[in-house]
């Protein structure tokens, strides 16, 4: 298999291998925190931080760690970065930390991170691992923001807390609740599959 260019390595996270719509990883956090855009931003930044730094470390020590204990060491590394993110949020952004509730500590078991550490960072050079991590984070954040935007708008009439739909619009409370998250996620995956299908079909016809 030919090596991807750096560009491709980054952009695959946005579409072809988007962690949420393609790999269906990290869905728990996507469903839980996408009821407001601000939560999506905070969660996205926390995940990006953890993903990039664990990719860096995992890639650095990939030749030292014996195969049998690799998962254990990856988890320790990931958990450390998650704890740092959690403490720093609580210390400097108490409002956000409160809104995120238990979902920051739960990044430890977010499959995107262990998945990328295992599938990519532990097999590639540091630079490439970081690019991959950045691409994956970008894909995750964008999906989260898209969902947060639609759910907050329909469920609460607001964008980032500012009211943009008038009183005439009766909020769809279901959008803020777990069922709304599932419905929205399903629709987003369906639409992205449809677009992907159309693109591939067009590519087939010369």
């Amino acid at each position: 298999m030919a090596q991807k260019t750096i560009r491709q390595e980054f952009f695959k996270g946005l579409w072809d291998e988007n962690p949420v719509t393609r790999q269906l990883l990290g869905l728990c956090s996507v469903l839980a925190v996408s009821n407001a855009v601000i939560n999506g931003i905070a969660m996205g930044l926390a995940v990006t931080f953890v993903l990039v730094f664990s990719a860096l470390l995992v890639s650095l020590i990939r030749k030292i760690v014996p195969n049998q204990v690799r998962i254990a060491s990856f988890i320790v590394i990931i958990a450390s970065f998650v704890t740092i993110a959690d403490r720093v949020l609580a210390a400097y952004f108490p409002q956000l930390s409160k809104a995120m509730g238990p979902y920051v500590p739960l990044i430890v078991v977010n499959c995107i991170i262990l998945g990328r550490a295992e599938a990519f960072a532990s097999k590639n050079k540091v630079g490439r691992a970081i690019i991959d991590a950045l691409g994956m984070s970008a894909g995750y954040v964008l999906t989260l923001l898209l969902m947060g935007f639609i759910r907050e708008l329909l469920g609460n009439r607001t964008f980032l807390g500012a009211q943009i739909l008038g009183r005439w619009f009766e909020p769809w409370v279901v959008m803020l609740l777990p069922p709304g998250a599932f419905i929205m996620l399903g629709l987003i995956i369906a639409v992205s599959n449809l677009i992907d299908f159309k693109i591939k079909e067009r590519q087939k016809q010369p």
């Binding site: 254990a72 720093v88 108490p94």
Partner: protein
């Protein structure tokens, strides 16, 4: 080095390094996190008694605390009661501002809640809920107005609006407030509040 020694060495090293690094981060952020918690509670205590410029905790027990609110001249304006109770999903922590005679509720603010977003979580909304809690007569038990009315003036003096679709959360807040007022009154008769100066 054979495999098992290498496994032990690597895992120990990873654990030790992470552990010590976390200890440092924990130390650095600890003070600030405690400060944030205290700051949040004190700000809320200031907010619920209009015109107050300083607060001092004068009584504390599990899930209940009393703050004294004074203005710049040092006159006692009232108390902020911090109280907690069970909501629909989890504990609700709130603060109630009352005047020094414990006869009027001046204001209410919610510090912690995990009610349903879009329904019960509206207890934190100024427009839908909190504004109906200003200047309530608490010499009698407070009661809920269901269905809610738009104009605060249409409520009886000891009535507060319920939130449509979130009666349980509204009632939870109401019960916490009623309990807290009772407790404060008890403390007052025992002479544990500083009283009117």
């Amino acid at each position: 080095m054979n495999l098992s020694t290498r496994m032990i060495v690597v895992l120990t090293a990873v654990g030790l390094l992470s552990g010590s690094f976390l200890a440092i981060v924990g130390q650095v952020t600890k003070e600030r996190i405690i400060f944030n918690k205290r700051h949040e509670i004190e700000m809320a205590a200031l907010k619920v008694v209009p015109g107050a410029s300083s607060v001092k905790m004068i009584y504390e027990e599990r899930d209940f605390a009393v703050f004294e609110d004074r203005d710049e001249a040092g006159n006692l304006l009232g108390y902020a009661l911090q109280a907690a109770g069970t909501g629909f999903q989890d504990k609700i922590v709130l603060e109630i501002g009352v005047n020094a005679e414990l006869t009027t509720i001046l204001g209410l603010t919610i510090i912690e809640q995990k009610e349903t977003p879009g329904l019960g979580a509206k207890i934190t909304s100024e427009e839908d809920f909190l504004r109906y809690w200003q200047n309530r007569d608490c010499t009698k038990e407070l009661t809920l107005r269901k269905p809610p009315v738009e104009d605060p003036g249409a409520l009886a003096s000891n009535e507060v609006n319920a939130i449509t679709g979130a009666t349980i959360s509204s009632r939870a807040v109401l019960n916490i407030v009623n309990e807290a007022i009772k407790k404060a009154r008890q403390l007052q008769t025992e002479g544990k509040l500083s009283g009117i100066n």
